[in-house]
């Protein structure tokens, strides 16, 4: 039987190794898998490369992972935040590396990894400092950069609902990078507000088919959780 449910977030992230590339879904707070990130902080893996659109805000979630010194490199499009200096301070101190990628190229590179495309051409960033050292080829009247697939050892993502096969749906703009990261990582771990029986999700409306998902954890802090469980992680 296929049953991708894990007992808790700790179990779902227990085998993430030092030096791993961890993709983390979310655009700002929307879709951020905070319970899985907290479990990863607890678990202790370090020297991580994190692929995520942003570099954390406030002092929780990804910002807390960075503040704990676990991240040696960020791959993202927008590591600036109004309400957090965590990344900025480490960056200015030269204690964290940054690979800055245009947001669309970042999304496309992640998808490429999931779709078996080792590299593709795009006109985005041509003529800018982000094009430096990348191969250029002309197609018609446009110069394009060669961009490579970007894969992860692990993806940590958040869904609205999952079943034990790993089929997922998301909530509004919390979808963002998560379906792509699910495709691109060797192991995809999901925290979901609702964990339902197979057949509960309409096959027409599944956004991430279960084939892309390895582990499912029901959120402790979601509204569906009973109050004693809230925040115990």
């Amino acid at each position: 039987m296929i049953d991708k449910r894990c007992a808790d977030a700790a179990a779902a992230v227990h085998d993430i190794r030092d030096g791993a590339t961890v993709m983390i879904g979310g655009f700002g707070e929307a879709g951020s898998p905070t319970e899985l990130i907290d479990a990863l902080i607890e678990q202790g893996a370090s020297e991580l490369t994190v692929v995520s659109n942003n570099a954390g805000s406030g002092t929780t979630g990804l910002a807390a992972l960075i503040a704990a010194g676990r991240v040696s490199k960020m791959v993202c499009s927008y590591p600036r935040s109004a309400d957090s200096e965590v990344f900025a301070e480490l960056y200015r101190a030269g204690r964290i590396a940054l690979e800055l990628v245009p947001q669309g190229t970042l999304a496309e590179r992640i998808r490429a990894a999931g779709a078996g495309i080792p590299a593709f051409y795009t006109p985005t960033a041509i003529g800018t400092i982000l094009a430096q050292s990348k191969p250029v080829r002309r197609f018609g009247d446009r110069e394009c950069l060669l961009e490579h697939a970007l894969s992860g050892d692990v993806a940590l993502i958040k869904a609205k609902a999952a079943d034990r096969h790993g089929n997922l749906i998301y909530n509004k703009t919390a979808r963002n990078f998560s379906p792509l990261m699910a495709m691109a990582a060797d192991t995809t771990v999901v925290q979901a507000s609702i964990v339902a029986a197979p057949g509960s999700l309409d096959p027409e409306t599944v956004v991430t088919p279960g084939i892309f998902v390895d582990r499912v954890v029901r959120e402790e802090r979601s509204p569906q959780a009973s109050s004693p469980g809230v925040g115990w992680l």
Binding site: F27, G28, E29, A30, G31, N53, A55, S77, Y78, P79, R80, F87, A88, Y91, R92, L98, L100, V101, P102, Q103, G104, T105, A107, E108, I110, R111, T122, P123, T124, A125, I126, G127, T128, I129, L130, Y170, N171, K172, T173, A174, R175, N176, F177, S178, P179, L180, V207
Partner: protein, 242 residues
């Protein structure tokens, strides 16, 4: 119409001026910051579909206080709503709309715009943390790239220049610039003033622009150089082919 010193348009007035040029039925992406104001200025008689690159087509106005959903936000990470006919999608589909040439217009802020259409709007090249977001994708993929910005910096430095000093967002990508003083097209002749704010003269603009400007106002040789040259309706007509 006033003949006093040029005050120029307020931010909201610039946004209204941009909104005038957005045709009915357009698919539009509004950049973070000043361009966000444009959303509030689109007249009811136009159906304009707003795209936000974090995965929503059919973005509506901010929700009433207390009804915000932290998982329904725009690219500036502020709470928004949806309009009937909206759709959610993931990031690669969202950027396929941008990069595949499906969006009609994007409106972006700027640090500098060069006379050849080069845009710098993502980095001052100093010690600040660099953050590019979707700006490079937008300027490369969207059919018409409009810039909305103060004509000069707070220090009075022109933002319209011969060549950008800041790191580029894209080369020869800007189609038009909306400032507090004027509407300026990027043409093969460089900056071409298409419209002036009330009380602003062509020489006011020329003095505050660090590159030559040409006069491309409709019938500009017939009228004086104060005030809007063309009514919104004629202006809009010329937009139909955008």
């Amino acid at each position: 119409m006033t003949s006093s010193m040029p005050r120029g348009l307020t931010r909201t007035q610039i946004a209204e001026r941009v909104a005038l040029d957005i045709p009915d039925g357009a698919y539009v992406n509004l950049g973070i910051g000043m361009p966000e104001i444009v959303a509030q200025c689109i007249p009811d008689e136009k159906e304009v579909i707003l795209h936000t690159e974090n995965g929503l087509l059919g973005m509506g106005p901010p929700p009433p206080a207390g009804e915000e959903d932290p998982e329904l936000i725009n690219a500036g990470k502020r709470p928004v709503t949806t309009v009937p006919g909206a759709s959610f999608f993931h990031h690669v589909d969202s950027f396929a709309m941008i990069r595949g040439g499906h969006l009609d217009i994007c409106v972006l802020g700027a640090l500098e715009v060069a006379a050849n259409g080069d845009l710098a709007n993502w980095s001052t090249g100093t010690g600040a943390v660099p953050a590019v977001g979707g700006a490079m994708d937008l300027v490369t993929g969207v059919k018409a790239v409009y810039v909305m910005a103060g004509h000069c910096t707070r220090e009075g430095e022109p933002k319209l220049v011969t060549e950008c000093r800041y790191p580029l967002t894209g080369k020869a990508v800007v189609d038009r610039v909306y400032t507090d003083l004027a509407v300026i097209d990027i043409t093969s002749q460089g900056f071409a003033v298409r419209d002036l704010a009330p009380g602003v003269t062509l020489s006011d603009v020329a003095e505050r622009t660090a590159a030559p400007v040409v006069d491309a106002r409709r019938g500009s040789h017939l009228v004086d150089d104060t005030g809007f040259q063309s009514g919104p309706s004629s202006f809009l007509k010329s937009e139909a082919s955008t």
